[in-house]
Amino acid sequence: MTTAVSILPPQQLAELNRAYRREVARKRLRTALAAALFLAALVVAAFGAEVNLKTFFTYIGNFASYFDRILTLDSGARVWTDFGEWFWGWRKWLHLLGETILISYVGTLIGAVLAFGLNFLAAENTSPGPVLRFVVRRLLEFARTVPSIVFALIFVIAFGLGPMAGVLAIAIHCVGALGKQYSEMVENADMKPVEGIRSTGASWISCMRFAVLPQVIAGYASYTLLRLEINVREASVMGFVGAGGIGQELVVAIRKFYYSDVSAILLTIILTVFVIDIATGWLRSRLFGREART
């Protein structure tokens, strides 16, 4: 079977070609302009951040040799030739790691409970009043935007040095982050069950409990587990400001150039994060099937 390809008359074709080229040229111009603007912003930023390529290229060798040094024992041998010497402080580190995980667990749980209490007030479709919603939303935003380590710095002064400050800092940040995610889930929930429950004369609390909660509870658990994993990472640096966990030990090792200790502690942190990552992933897939994992 053959079909004739219709060829337009030349003047019409030329017209269309011109229009096409003009469109392409306009698009290219716009891309070029955006690229130029971006480059200009980068140059300004480079001055702002005191980028010094000379320093960088002089010392970039140090970066490679730093990893060489942290993988070398005091005796000059490679770290993996003598595990006993490399992980000489494993008892102490394991204890601190346990503390780190506990900090993130307790912080996440406190944060999740508070976020759970607040999120129905912040969601557009379930909030009892616009003023309350506005206040709760701003509070959550504040808790989310101020980095947890800044809270930790302040809490260390208020509550004293130690893991308690770290737990509260993580909890506050967690309220902000989870509160937002939770309330977004509530906003996506189907409102028909709420109408059904309300038509029986139920109170606001009953509406939330029997109409909204069953729709969103699985998603809540999934987000909370993800947050736990993020918080383990955050808790590993809480010690930098004296708020407990393995960070204290790490910052001392880095600052005092205890090279092999640095690699040992980093390795334990990475392994812990891996384990928590895999464990929460497994738990989520067990609880909600595979599709909830993404």
Binding site: Y66, F142, V150, L153, I154, I157, F240, I254, R255
Partner: protein, 281 residues
């Protein structure tokens, strides 16, 4: 339902015993998990030195600190703080760009549809390890290499985002449609042509969206790396907290909030312009 005749109910129960009698393990699983979660929580509270007296004393102190913070006041150091804020934004922008440039080629060799599993697996694990280390730790490492200052912050953000971008980009590449690539191959293109003309046009908008999102979240990270001495507004913040100048502290926190909100707004607009409304949500 509850008015169902008893005989009927018994008959049903006799016919479908497994519906009426869930095994004890299924009924006990949820309470047992809750109990375990609570037990660990209680143990954590004890182990981490939580006590009501400490909590109350701390809250009291915190209330006092909050009172001292009002009203926010920069004193005479406003120009210094504005410069520090500029430094922070610069760190975020440069760090993110550098990370994206480094991560793009690496993400290709971490994508399932481009390289075999033998190559992909170690690259993925490497990226995971880089990501497992917090930005603050990278900042400390870079300070050892290039000295104190914002440049160390740029490199710290670049390295830690490199891990995140590598993973996200390679997922974008894996999600790309095969058909364009096959079309390029059918017309005689090389592997590089396939990547340039088949994959990149699909992947670039997704990547641009992610980079913009990260510039925003890195503004947040860049505010804190100053705490360990890697430049930016965090340095000022940590210093003012240490000397208990609470009015300045609250002013700095406000500045951070405003800056993050502004970047959030701008990057939202840009993302909207690049990839359309659907992907912004």
């Amino acid at each position: 339902m509850s008015q169902m005749p008893a005989a009927d109910r018994n008959a049903l129960q006799a016919r479908y015993p497994e519906i009426f009698k869930r095994p004890a393990s299924a009924r006990l699983a949820m309470p047992a998990m809750l109990l375990a979660a609570l037990a660990i929580f209680g143990f954590g509270l004890v182990d981490l030195d939580f006590s009501p007296t400490r909590l109350i004393a701390g809250l009291h102190q915190l209330g006092w600190i909050t009172m001292m913070m009002l009203p926010p006041d920069p004193g005479s150091s406003l120009p210094l703080y504005l410069k520090a804020l500029g430094e922070t934004l610069s760190i975020a922008l440069l760090g993110t760009t550098l990370a994206a440039i480094m991560a793009l080629p690496v993400s290709l060799i971490a994508a399932r549809n481009i390289v075999p599993d033998v190559v992909r697996f170690p690259v993925r694990r490497f990226l995971d390890s880089v990501r497992g280390i917090d930005t603050l730790i990278w900042a400390l490492v870079w300070i050892n290499v290039v000295g104190l200052g914002p440049f160390a912050g740029v490199l710290a953000i670049a390295v830690s985002d490199f891990g995140a971008f590598g993973k996200l980009f390679s997922e974008a590449v894996e999600g790309a449609d095969r058909k364009q690539v096959e079309g390029i191959r059918a017309s005689g293109g090389t592997t590089l042509h396939e990547i340039r003309f088949g994959l990149m046009p699909q992947v670039l908008p997704v990547i641009a969206g992610q980079v913009l999102y990260f510039i925003e979240s890195n503004t947040r990270s860049a505010t804190i790396i100053g705490i360990v001495g890697a430049g930016g507004i965090g340095l000022q913040l940590a210093e003012q907290i240490r000397v208990l100048e609470w009015q300045k502290v609250s002013f700095l926190i406000l500045m951070i909030l405003v800056a993050v909100a502004a970047i959030d707004w701008i990057s939202g607009k840009l993302r909207f312009a690049i990839i359309g409304r659907r992907a912004v949500a």
